[in-house]
């Protein structure tokens, strides 16, 4: 396949033998991500159920700033690119470049989080708090859980960045970077769904609206 001419072979790392022939840590990460799908499935269902059910405002259309949130989406998508570039670099054995991409991913994640803090602050100023109405409750819980996942991801990225200076992130430990990458991309795909379902799909006015 021509597009794979610069393909990178995942390095053979030194894992203990497993009955599946697959690294247990990677299998466990995929199982964790599958379970996290259920968590976000429940939160998104709750949001869709309640977003148009508020009897008092502010309603979604009163507070959402689509251009602003679109920029946040681009930032998170860009962070997924830098994450795979970090993985490709460590799989080639280029620790220095991997370190740069890991830091870039963490910075983009922090930018996204900063944007979310700003958004929450402006919503509160407009009168939408966790307790204002059911839209506020379901919105803050869903996006708050996602933001918490991003924050955990940033901590993991910064840990990898720090460990790389101690010589603990090498080509042999590329699996560690791959596991953090899987988590990070999962956070990205959850945002892809949230951006569409929460921000872009218009809401029917509630009983009071």
């Amino acid at each position: 396949m021509a597009s794979l001419e610069h393909a990178v072979a995942p390095p053979v790392s030194h894992h203990a033998a497993t009955s599946t022939g697959l690294p247990s840590l990677k299998l466990a990460m995929w199982l964790f991500l599958a379970s996290d799908c259920l968590l976000f499935g429940a939160l998104i269902s709750t949001y869709v159920l309640y977003r148009g059910a508020s009897t008092t405002g502010p309603y979604p259309s009163d507070v959402f700033d689509i251009p602003y949130t679109s920029v946040s989406s681009f930032v998170l998508l860009a962070s997924s690119l830098t994450m795979v570039l970090a993985l490709a670099a460590i799989q080639r054995g280029d620790v220095g470049r991997s370190r740069v991409w890991l830091l870039a991913t963490a910075l983009l994640g922090m930018t996204f989080l900063g944007g979310q803090v700003y958004e929450f602050t402006s919503f509160v100023r407009e009168g939408l708090t966790l307790k204002t109405n059911v839209f506020g409750t379901s919105f803050y819980v869903l996006t708050g859980f996602h933001g918490t996942h991003v924050a955990v991801g940033v901590l993991m990225l910064l840990t990898l960045f720090t460990l790389s200076f101690a010589g603990k992130i090498t080509q042999d430990s590329a699996m560690t970077v791959e596991l953090v990458g899987l988590y990070w991309h999962f956070v990205d795909i959850v945002w892809i769904v949230i951006f569409t379902v929460v921000y872009l799909i218009p809401t029917n006015p509630g009983p009071g609206g």
Binding site: K26, G52, I192
Partner: protein, 111 residues
């Protein structure tokens, strides 16, 4: 000197052979450009009056394509063992089932 003893390949070697090869940076950048273009299209469609009637299916389609691209290329499910894909699809199917049960139970689609 016929050596009849053949070592079993280590699990990680078998896993690697099973996994195939991950794409390189050029392929990743290409995917990222497509993802950015789709996101731009999503926002554009949101503002274009002509799309109001079909906005929801169009947005779901764009979202599905972005989701699939990230999972297949950035998370390597296209290149890795199918066991990982089975695990993930299991969770995803559970989430979609949960979503549909909740919304059908509370008759969200009929309102």
């Amino acid at each position: 000197m016929a050596d009849t003893h053949i070592d079993e390949p280590a699990p990680e070697v078998r896993a690697r052979a099973h996994a195939g090869r991950h794409p390189g940076p050029k392929e990743y950048i290409r995917i990222a450009i497509i993802l950015a273009a789709i996101t731009a299209a999503e926002v554009a469609v949101y503002y274009i009056e002509g799309f109001k009637e079909i906005l929801v299916p169009v947005l779901f389609f764009f979202s599905f394509v972005k989701f699939t691209l990230v999972v297949l290329w950035f998370m390597h499910l296209r290149f890795d063992s199918r066991t990982y894909a089975r695990f993930f699809v299991m969770g995803l199917a559970g989430a979609i089932t949960l979503f549909l049960i909740v919304l059908l139970t509370f008759q969200v689609f009929s309102s």
